[in-house]
């Protein structure tokens, strides 16, 4: 735990206490359920975005990857209604992986900057989503109960349910945290992120690192797409995952992953997601109209960036003195 994580935890707690004082219902089990229900999708996608931001990249197309994966799996369920849940997740993950590899190839081999590539594929994948389903919605009748049940049941402790989806997402988080500490791959990611040319001189292939990061982001986006189906029970090609890129990038930026590259922790990302989930539910409890959501997400990203810039300035002054 470093200062950033402790600070985040403090903000989450203060926000919860403040909301409870404002409205006793905030610590209602039902309300905590909805906070916890909110997290898995975001956390899964944010875990993939984390290494991408570490290497100073960005994946804006993540919302469309989630949408395409959700719709494609839904369309597949139309013709094969008895596919098993692990199979559905595997298919979603594969779709996401392919899209991520496409992003990675454009960025690495065609040398198109990440912002331009992913803002292009954001609309490209959205268009593919329409093509896959022919503009039709995926109705609730198509999504089997064995998938939706994952979002609404799990381990229940004193009326509060931690859904299987969240457990799955947290497991992914733990795996990522372990990999971030011990694996060669994440070592290369951090080295490349803090100084690409030094990493190259040390024998780290920049192409492989970039490719892998975007592929990973696509993979987690694909998994999040299946989670989307599970959580909402339906999906429309226009709205599934649309605008989600903001939330994902916000949670990673709040989580203290430095946008100047080379640093960040998985715990920070998890706490960033938790903070956004609490904020989101707090808006509802405090009866703030839904129209304020976009503004709040934008402000959280900007504040996180400014804190980053400020701490950088402080460090520089400290080094000079």
């Amino acid at each position: 735990m470093k200062w950033r994580e402790l600070g985040l935890l403090a903000v989450v707690i203060v926000l919860c206490v403040a909301c409870t004082m404002k409205d006793r219902n905030f610590i209602d089990p039902h309300n905590i359920d909805s906070i916890l229900l909110w997290m898995p999708l975001l956390l899964t996608a944010a875990i993939g975005q984390f290494p991408v931001i570490v290497i100073r990249g960005i994946d804006i197309s993540i919302g469309s990857i989630i949408g395409l994966s959700a719709i494609a799996v839904g369309v597949l369920l139309k013709s094969h209604p008895d596919l098993g849940v692990p199979m559905l997740f595997a298919i979603g993950a594969t779709i996401g992986l392919i899209l991520g590899i496409l992003n990675g190839a454009l960025i690495t081999y065609a040398k198109i900057p990440a912002v331009v590539t992913t803002i292009g594929t954001l609309t490209l994948f959205r268009g593919l989503t329409y093509m896959v389903c022919g503009g039709d919605q995926i109705d609730a009748s198509l999504v089997p109960d064995r998938l939706t049940v994952l979002a609404h049941s799990g381990i229940t402790v004193r009326e509060v349910t931690v859904s299987w989806l969240l457990i799955f997402a947290l497991l992914l988080g733990i795996i990522t945290a372990l990999l971030a500490r011990f694996s060669q791959f994440f070592g290369n990611v951090f080295a490349y992120g803090s100084n690409p040319s030094a990493a190259y001189l040390r024998g780290i292939s920049p192409n492989k690192v970039q490719m892998a990061c975007y592929a990973l982001s696509g993979l987690t986006g694909g998994i999040a797409g299946v989670m989307f189906l599970s959580r909402f029970g339906n999906a429309s090609p226009a709205s599934a995952g649309s605008g989600f890129e903001l939330l994902v990038i916000a949670s990673v930026a709040i989580g203290g992953v430095k946008i100047t590259g080379g640093s960040g922790s998985t715990l920070g990302v998890v706490l960033g997601c938790a903070l956004l989930a609490v904020i989101n539910v707090a808006l509802v409890v405090l009866k703030v109209p839904a129209d304020y959501q976009t503004l709040v997400y934008g402000l959280t990203i900007l504040i996180a960036l400014l804190i980053d810039a400020l701490s950088r300035g402080v460090k520089k002054q400290g080094a000079a003195a």
Partner: protein, 318 residues
């Protein structure tokens, strides 16, 4: 590739010929001229974006600046006369663009992240302010798109005039030299004594002011402003600039390229419109054009860098 503007020029002729051949509705010159009112607004945004991208930055928030200005202008201007309304729109846009520039330069943050945040903030303010409502535009500023000058609708004239003026500033004035220098190597520009921060902020503010004019044109055309207008318009503006040969890495580009590329985009969107292609697919095709045109540029530069200069003949005479 010494003059990348040839690519959009040739492509626009090809696309024009293609749709002329494909669709009867496209073979209507008065319609083609009058229909420019919508894309002229995007064109105004592309002019400012050219400055920003040449200086090595990007602005993802242009669509949100457009929408927030379009929503605020009728509220603030009320029933004031058209010049006052234009002034308010220009100021609003310039302030929003300037805020982007100030945060990017003073906090030393990458432009794509800052403008991603302000993209949400500006549109978020518009949404929070109007909610499900819309802003009614005063009748005395409506209908600019139906007036014409020299046979061209007013928005098109405004777009062309600003393209000329900003183009001259970019290619003939010191501000332009600064922007090219910053885009090529901002550290070197700083050591050479260029006012890097001031020039960058100016580029963002000028872009914002032009978006303010675009917002006025849009309000005047539609008569009403809603916070969910113009989705994906930033993609279109960036695509126009990049397909016009402006290097996304900065330091290279021309206003002529942006103009020709605007013409290409105009033929593509109008052609898709008369062919009844759905809006969601239109945006997809624009995204594809963006990726393909950057890819084409990269290929062209890599070919150019592999081609060795001709060996100069060494003189054997003493």
């Amino acid at each position: 590739m010494k003059r990348p503007e040839w690519i959009p020029a040739i492509l626009s002729i090809a696309v024009f010929a293609l749709f002329w051949y494909l669709s009867k509705d496209f073979r209507d010159i008065p319609y083609l001229i009058s229909n420019t009112t919508i894309l002229a607004e995007t064109g105004l945004m592309a002019i400012g974006m050219t400055l920003i991208i040449i200086a090595g930055n990007i602005d993802l928030s242009v669509g949100s600046i457009l929408v927030l200005t379009a929503c605020l202008m009728p509220k603030l201007a009320g029933h004031a006369s058209a010049p006052v309304a234009i002034l308010i729109a220009v100021l609003l846009g310039a302030v929003m663009g300037g805020i982007n520039g100030i945060i990017i330069t003073k906090a030393k943050l990458p432009s794509f992240l800052v403008t991603l945040a302000t993209m949400a903030i500006y549109r978020g303010i518009a949404k929070a302010m109007l909610q499900a409502d819309s802003a009614e535009v005063a009748p005395n500023v409506k209908g600019l798109d139906r007036l014409s000058l020299l046979g061209m609708p007013y928005p098109l004239v405004i777009f062309l005039v600003f393209a000329l003026v900003i183009g001259l500033v970019l290619h003939r004035k010191v501000l332009g030299r600064w922007l090219f220098g910053i885009g090529t190597n901002s550290e070197a520009a700083r050591y050479a004594g260029f006012p890097v921060d001031r020039a960058t902020i100016t580029a963002f503010a000028v872009s914002g002011a032009l978006i303010g004019i675009a917002a006025f044109c849009m309000d005047s055309r539609l008569g009403v402003a809603r916070p969910d207008m113009a989705p994906g318009i930033e993609l279109q503006a960036i695509t126009i600039v990049v397909a016009g040969g402006t290097a996304i890495s900065g330091g290279k580009g021309t206003m002529v390229g942006t103009l020709l590329s605007w013409l290409l985009m105009y033929f593509v969107t109008t052609g898709m419109g008369v062919m009844n292609i759905k809006a969601e697919y239109q945006l997809t095709i624009i995204g594809l054009i963006l990726i393909v045109s950057v890819f084409g540029q990269q290929v062209a530069t890599s070919i150019a860098s592999h081609r060795l200069p001709k060996p100069t003949k060494l003189s054997t005479k003493p």
